[in-house]
């Protein structure tokens, strides 16, 4: 039996967020490519989106009053964990086809796992979120698994 993960907490595994549908624009691609100091002209011109552009496309856009005082939006997909200090996180991203201006893309997120490990300085909570990004025809464009560690 887990020491800090209650069955209540674990019952959140499988929770899904509301899908978000967004339009890809040349201007947003250009801003992203320039801000990341990309050197490839096709990205700087916004003809095609560089990898990880989806991070910008699907970052939570919330009203100012819903941000915490340190400027963070609270992820409604996550339960309140007994450990709150975020440590390193990891990403695993698969790319299936390029993203171009004019694409309408829909991101769906699901909390796929919560588990606990004993670290050197005490217990650690791991959670995983899977995000599928699909085009309007339902084809998978990007699949991203985020793993975060709390201590």
């Amino acid at each position: 039996m887990s020491a800090i993960l209650t069955s209540d907490l674990l019952s959140n595994i499988g929770r899904q967020g509301l899908p978000k549908r967004e339009l890809v624009t040349r201007r947003d691609i250009r801003k992203y490519a320039i801000a990341t100091d990309n050197r490839q002209q096709k990205y700087l011109d916004g003809d095609i989106a560089p990898p990880m552009f989806h991070v910008a496309l699907f970052w939570d856009v919330v009203e100012l009053k819903k941000l915490t005082p340190d400027g963070v939006s609270i992820d409604s997909l996550l339960p309140r964990f007994p450990l709150e200090r975020a440590m390193a996180g990891g990403l695993d991203i698969s790319y299936y086809r390029p993203i171009k201006p004019g694409d309408w893309l829909t991101a769906s997120r699901i909390l796929t796992d919560i588990y606990e490990k004993l670290g050197r300085s005490g217990p650690l909570i791991f959670y995983e979120i899977m995000m599928d990004i699909r085009d309007d025809e339902g084809n998978l464009v990007i699949q991203e698994k985020t793993t975060r560690i709390l201590r």
Partner: protein, 141 residues
């Protein structure tokens, strides 16, 4: 473009030295309002960081860039797995690079161990990128 790909080969590295303007534009582009990236008194006095914190996904982007600059139009990244192992700060000079660890001449699948390291030679973002290599623009294979 014809070139030789061999396991153990290093791809050309690239140095990144982001300044306040780039960090601001990056967080604006992704719509990230976290104060640790732009509010120096907050980052240092409230959160106890030595400076403004570089956004983790920006380092992830650079891992892609260094591989894409090497691939050019001869391939595409199909997968990345990486982690942000430690924080990096404004003023750090970071190097992105990688080493080829596997290459299948039949399929064109290439695996590259990638890294972001700082001036103290600490790897702050290790990862593995898988790409498909299709020389001379043959993207059908």
């Amino acid at each position: 473009m014809t070139r030789c790909i061999e396991v153990g080969m290093m791809i050309p590295s690239r140095d990144y030295c982001p300044d306040e303007v780039q960090l601001m534009l990056y967080n604006a582009a992704i719509w990230n309002g976290h104060r640790i990236h732009f509010d120096l008194p907050y980052a240092t006095e409230t959160e106890g960081y030595p400076g403004l914190v570089l956004a983790g996904p920006m380092l992830g982007d650079w891992l892609h860039q260094v591989v894409e600059e090497w691939l050019g139009e001869d391939g595409m990244i199909t997968n990345i797995s990486y982690s942000n192992r430690g924080a990096s700060y404004l003023g750090d000079r970071l190097q992105a690079g990688g080493t080829i660890t596997a290459f299948d001449t039949e399929t064109g699948n290439v695996t590259i161990d990638v890294y972001i390291k700082n001036d103290a030679a600490q790897i702050v973002a290790p990862g593995v990128i898988k790409a498909r290599w299709y020389p001379t623009g043959d993207s059908t294979r």
